[in-house]
Symmetry: C2
Subunit: 332 residues, 2 copies
């Protein structure tokens, strides 16, 4: 059945059933002019929003509808993780073509719901509308913050730069999907299709003394520049220390890609990038691996040279970081 | 300068300057992974989201960029008004074509900002991304709720149905803009381009004993059906009592439009639709007009016949309401 046959009202009945959330602190969920919540007292709220556009962030053929729905939520949860915030609520806006299969839209919602169940948050509202061209998904999520908010602005000279997981896998996976040749690299496809927000790792990092934190959505180069700009510091990155996913080497050899360029500029890895004082970094790595269930590695150091980011090549040669991360609008 | 020349980072610098909001309860505004707020203690939060899609909700030539930005915010504030909620924060997501003029995007943001200043809320975050085809604006807004949330579900048989302002003007304005022939009807164009959220009127209605409330975004027929469905009641509408804007008669005569169809099904009027017990309705009308600075009128009555909505024609003939409000996806 197409959306134009099902109609908006029938879709909303299904969506309300799927995301039923009233009770506890949700006074009004989906179905009124706005959701109303009784937010937990004495905590701060972190609040983020992300828009995914067909043809820009995804093609419908690149993953199942469930995977796309789940990922749409995960990119928001990754932002909340970067604030060491515990997910609470989400609002979902969908712009849908009238000739889209209704079942596709419902599967997309089921993917969002499965992500909600996994990470303990509830969809309490949203908006559905028509799109003239392509699917657009905007999710806005809110979470609670205990203690100080974990900003990008706290890094200081001499501190260690740490990343979780591995870099470059999502960008490689997207290239493989675009080329239609990814069967040999399921791990890279998964990195693009099914990112995991590093919520537990983020809490561990905060508790272990992280001074700044962000998630790597635009690529390490851009996201590190954000930390340096917000903190008024510089950084040196040791290229040899960048963690790569297991299949990346082989995929780069087969396709002639530059592995370091993917790790530095690829984006969509949704790993954490954080800074720690030298004396707490060993404990932080252990805490992230134990509580966060993900490897963490030191990849460089914060310097006093505001805005300057240099890279040390495996042969010891130091040079200015030239890689740009992903930036919309510009294609240079 | 085009967006692809300006680039995302330069846009964000301007946007951050425009919406600077830190201090007071905004701990982190635009520029980190998520905004962080210290929400007012002991109040509930209402939270809404609305997506406006080029070619569906607007054409860029139909209003200035400032008007479009302001309206994008107003449709959210209208939702908050319907909950009798005081606006606090907003997040703005924009999907922009690389070949769009950067100045257009900045003017759009200035329009949002002017609406913020007018109604006392702050943009604390958002997302900018590329669009393959057309401009997409998603705004999510949160407000505080004192006392009980004003839901759609409290209407009871015998109660009076009240609307603020006039109906049908926005839909007529959109038709005039689509036809390129609106010069003779500035009030109808204004109704479409520059809706005013009825925040003060909504507070007055709540304090005067409103039992249910919604805003008229999809047309009176659909929004009244929402109240009836949520409350388990029916309704009778007196067609002769529907308030029309001054220019609507002349526009309908000139273009052969059905005035009542526009008032019942046109949508986008962003007026309030509320119900009151018979004994409090006179006081409510006065309170809305005084505190809310807008006329309010009784247009019918709630009945016990769940789901049944009838209309009484000016000649006294009663029939079932057939008008459908605006529904996306369906074009029947």
């Amino acid at each position: 059945m197409l959306m134009e046959e099902m109609g908006e009202e029938a879709l909303l009945i299904e969506v309300r059933r799927l995301f039923a959330s009233e009770g506890d602190d949700v006074i009004l969920g989906i179905g009124d002019d706005a959701a109303v919540v009784d937010a937990p007292a004495a905590t701060k709220l972190a609040w983020t929003t992300d828009m995914l556009v067909e043809g820009v962030h995804f093609q419908t053929g690149w993953q199942s509808a469930e995977e796309l729905g789940r990922k749409s939520l995960m990119v928001n949860l990754s932002d909340l993780a970067a604030m060491a915030s515990q997910p609470l609520y989400a609002l979902v806006s969908l712009a849908i073509e009238a000739r889209m299969e209704a079942e596709y839209v419902l599967d997309l919602c089921r993917g969002i719901k499965s992500g909600c169940d996994e990470y303990g948050l509830r969809v309490i509202g949203g908006d559905t509308t028509a799109s003239g061209s392509g699917l657009i998904i905007n999710i806005s999520a809110a979470g609670s913050v205990s203690g100080d908010a974990m900003a990008r602005s706290g890094a200081a000279p001499g501190e260690a730069i740490v990343v979780t997981g591995a870099l470059g896998g999502a960008a490689a996976g997207m290239r493989l999907l675009a080329a239609g040749t990814g069967d040999a690299y399921p791990g890279l496809l998964r990195a693009f299709r099914s990112p995991e927000p590093r919520l537990a790792a983020a809490m561990a990092a905060r508790d272990a003394g992280a001074t700044s934190m962000t998630d790597i959505s635009d690529g390490l180069a851009t996201d590190l520049r954000h930390i340096c700009a917000a903190s008024g510091v510089g950084a040196t990155i040791d290229i040899a220390s960048l963690p790569h996913p297991p299949e990346l080497d082989a995929a780069c050899r087969e396709h002639g890609w530059d592995r370091e360029a993917l790790a530095l500029g690829g984006g969509e890895d949704y790993e954490l990038l954080a800074t720690f004082p030298a004396e707490s970094v060993d404990g932080a790595l252990k805490a992230i691996e134990q509580r966060g269930d993900v490897r963490a590695a030191v990849i460089g150091q914060i310097t006093a040279d505001a805005g300057a980011i240099s890279v040390i090549a495996p042969d010891g040669h130091e040079s200015a970081l030239k890689t740009r991360g992903f930036e919309h609008f510009r294609h240079d």
